[in-house]
């Protein structure tokens, strides 16, 4: 991704909001990721410049936290909860079913950029285990047959 001036300005506004304070790096990155969807090297570079710190520092933080991603997600990011409660209630099988149906691995995006697959640990809806998130929408008590139905919801649109 090459960055147009417009986007450079956007990043600068975010940094300004946090007073160009490098102690606020994580908050800056949260906001930047919300804007761009992901944090490619070019974006990190501009953040580093604005906060007057090194790219290595920014990259160190981005790569440390699982919430930050350097690759773009699909239009409908699918997150499977693999927290303990979900694991005990069969999250692994649900994850495998997604992998089989989408023909991608965890961390990958389908060729048409429609779906991406990742797992996360406990969204705090353990009562509904196993839990699957598509974007912000939460699906609870997902069964193997339910997986295709979830995908159908998005394939139509």
């Amino acid at each position: 991704m090459t960055i147009c001036e417009n986007n450079v300005a956007k990043i600068e506004i975010i940094c300004k909001e946090f007073n160009y304070d490098k102690g606020e790096l994580i908050n800056v990155l949260h906001k930047t990721q919300t804007t761009f969807g992901y944090l490619p090297e070019e974006v990190q570079q501009i953040v580093a410049q604005n906060l007057n710190t090194s790219l290595a520092h920014v990259y160190g933080v981005v790569s440390f936290y699982s919430f930050f991603t350097m690759t773009p997600k699909g239009k409908f990011p699918i997150n499977i909860c693999t927290g303990t409660a979900c694991y005990v209630r069969g999250a692994e099988k649900v994850l495998n079913e997604f992998k089989t149906l989408l023909k991608i691995k965890v961390g990958e995006t389908t060729k048409d950029d429609k779906f991406s697959l990742s797992n996360l640990r406990c969204v705090g809806a353990c009562g509904l285990a196993p839990v699957v998130l598509v974007g912000e929408k939460v699906y609870g008590r997902v069964t193997l047959d339910g997986v295709q139905k979830i995908l159908d919801d998005y394939n139509e649109s």
Binding site: D21, K22, G23, E24, L25, I26, N27, L29, H30, G60, V61, F64, Y65, S66, F67, F68, T82, G83, T84, A85, C86, Y87, V88, R89, K93, N96, E97, T100, L120, R121, C122, V123, G124, A125, C126, G127, L128, A129, V131, V138, G140, L144
Partner: protein
């Protein structure tokens, strides 16, 4: 809640219920009430977690105290016409397992969750009506900081974030550190997968945490507070922000609170998905905008913490207890619980248990009471096998521990730990070796990589467990596994590595026969580790529908329509999909 209205409908708006209803229940009910012309008469109040997460969405009608569960859109009309207009309870929606309901309420005792579910978390008036901010007023106007700290010491409150360190003592130490600036930090990182106590408190009663942080600030001499919260908890963040704004508006945060010269403000900092950031030194680094790597203690945060200033870190639930202690007295709090663990503990019950959700019980309650009386026993009437407490740092407790009174010290003595309050129940179908593997996978992913024992040791432990589960383990591996576990425990830098082998050691201590079976008999007794099994097709039941063959991801099933199918074991990867898909019970494992 207001007495102005004839009836109040309390809608659980905790994440579980919110997610379970595919529509916005509150809005929908409001529209309906208007349709029936009841909107002046009846108020809809959002409130949090009734501990019935598995049967949500839930609603309580006050003052009748009738609880409705698993409500759908089409039920709303019935509730309005029958109950609200005609006063007849809609029996079919009442969760009528008498045994479970009464059990749920009898053995529980709510201190930290005292307001959750009973007030609207987005209305400060509701909190104030329940004596909210009285404790802060009392502290600021009638007690010295030392007197308040002494009360907390006397109450015997211990940290609920896992360590169990006496809270009053921590405050006392931080208050004695001399510096021009000090901080109060609330640890809302809640990293234990399968636990959601802190989230529910922040979603259901955020003001209790805010009030307690201000009290803590008064005691230790800090005028700044920070809540470090997981970014994964959007609803909790939203409610916390609303609560902070309201508290500011009411002058309960800011300068010259209650007309005294005490000033206090609270900011929010966000986590970004790293378990180790729950550890207090890592958390502080994360707040400073750095990688969340822990550092050696001492110096403790109470001496040198955020930006090198003395910092008092406490857990959400710890804070939630504070106003109650001030209001009702240290003696009252100390009268609840066991000799060394006072008060109550909130647990997140999950796994193979009938009533999933949050419970709060006095310290000293037995596991049996929690699992059978409150939790309603094991799903599908299966046999109880173990319960994991303390998350990835803890261990499992078994049948023999069922009558153990739960407190900090008894759990540690039994080879597990209190942790932050996750309780995952397992039944006869769960393989304990696979469970240990699951936790180690978690630790490997979450290890920050700073120290060698944790970074490499845990990886090796995980590989060994994978080897066992895949059927290639040897008896020598078991000794190696145990030895390496002890080394990782003894030599890691922070609490993460120092506790990560616990799931292995405790399952080995309690279920050695399962480990033995994996390496000697080449069997997985619970049948969970599929590599030991082979799938077969039953000649009698198979009707030749081809469903299994079509669904097999590796095309290992052969056969023609209406003829018996056969599985090629050379190709089969034992994923079990054919068995899930077969409608005729024609696939079995042996």
């Amino acid at each position: 809640m207001s007495i102005k209205y004839r009836k109040n409908l309390l809608i659980c708006s905790g994440s579980s219920c919110h997610d379970a209803s595919n529509f916005d229940l509150m809005d929908f009910i409001n529209v309906k009430l208007k349709e029936y012309g009841l909107d002046d008469d009846i108020q809809v109040v959002q409130s949090v977690c009734f501990n019935k997460c598995s049967i949500g969405p839930n609603m309580i009608v006050y003052p009748d105290n009738v609880e409705y569960s698993t409500i759908t859109k089409s039920d709303i009309d019935d509730i309005i016409i029958e109950h609200l207009l005609n006063g007849r309870i809609v029996e079919r929606l009442v969760y009528n397992d008498v045994n479970i309901i009464s059990g749920t309420h009898k053995k529980q005792y709510r201190i930290a969750l005292r307001n959750c579910g009973f007030i609207d978390p987005e209305a400060i008036e509701d909190y104030i009506e329940k004596d909210g901010y009285d404790a802060l007023a009392k502290c600021l106007t009638t007690f010295t900081p030392e007197e308040v700290t002494q009360q907390i010491i006397k109450s015997g409150l211990r940290g609920r974030g896992g360590g169990g360190f006496p809270t009053g003592v921590k405050w006392d130490i931080t208050s004695k550190s001399v510096a021009e600036q000090k901080y109060v930090v609330c640890n809302a990182d809640e990293g234990d997968p399968g636990a959601f106590m802190d989230r529910s408190i922040l979603e259901g009663d955020p003001h209790s945490v805010i009030e307690a942080m201000a009290i803590c600030g008064y005691c230790i001499g800090a005028n700044k507070g920070i809540v470090y919260i997981r970014a994964e908890y959007p609803l909790a963040i939203k409610r916390l922000k609303i609560a902070l704004d309201q508290a500011k508006e009411y002058g309960l945060l800011g300068s010259q609170i209650f007309g005294t010269d005490f000033n206090f403000t609270i900011d929010i900092k966000y986590g970004a998905g790293a378990f180790v950031c729950g550890e207090e030194t890592a958390l502080i680094h994360s707040m400073e905008g750095l990688r969340g790597e822990p550092t050696l203690k001492p110096p403790f945060p109470s001496v040198s913490g955020y930006l090198k200033y003395p910092t008092n870190v406490n857990n959400v639930e710890t804070f939630a207890n504070i106003p109650a202690i001030i209001n009702k007295g240290a003696d009252w709090f100390a009268s609840i619980g066991t000799e060394k663990s006072k008060g109550t503990k909130v647990f997140a019950l999950a796994g193979k248990i009938n009533n999933v959700g949050l419970i709060e019980v006095p310290m000293g309650t037995t596991l049996r009471e929690v699992i059978y009386d409150i939790g309603g026993g094991i799903v599908d009437g299966k046999k109880f096998k173990a319960v994991q407490t303390g998350g990835p740092s803890g261990g499992c407790l078994t049948e023999k521990d069922l009558d153990l009174p739960i407190d900090f010290d008894s759990l540690t003595a039994a080879g597990s730990m209190m942790g932050s309050g996750g309780m995952i129940v397992m039944d006869e179908d769960d393989c304990m070796v696979a469970m240990a593997k699951f936790y180690l996978e978690f630790t490997v992913e979450e290890s920050c990589g700073k120290c060698v024992p944790c970074r490499i040791g845990n990886k090796r432990l995980h590989e060994m467990l994978t080897k066992l589960c895949d059927g290639y383990g040897t008896p020598e591996d078991l000794d190696l596994l145990r030895n390496l576990s002890v080394v990782v425990k003894d030599t890691s830098l922070c609490g993460l590595g120092q506790t990560s082998p616990n799931p292995i050691l405790s399952t080995m201590a309690n279920f050695y026969d399962e480990y033995h079976a994996h390496v000697v008999d080449h069997k997985c007794p619970s049948g969970q580790c599929t590599s030991f099994l082979k799938y077969y097709i039953d000649e009698e039941n198979c009707i030749g529908c081809l469903v299994c063959a079509r669904n097999c991801p590796v095309n290992a099933i052969f056969g023609e329509k209406k003829k018996l199918h056969i599985i090629n074991h050379e190709i089969c990867i034992k994923c079990g999909i054919c068995m899930e898909r077969c409608k005729f019970d024609a696939i079995y494992i042996k």
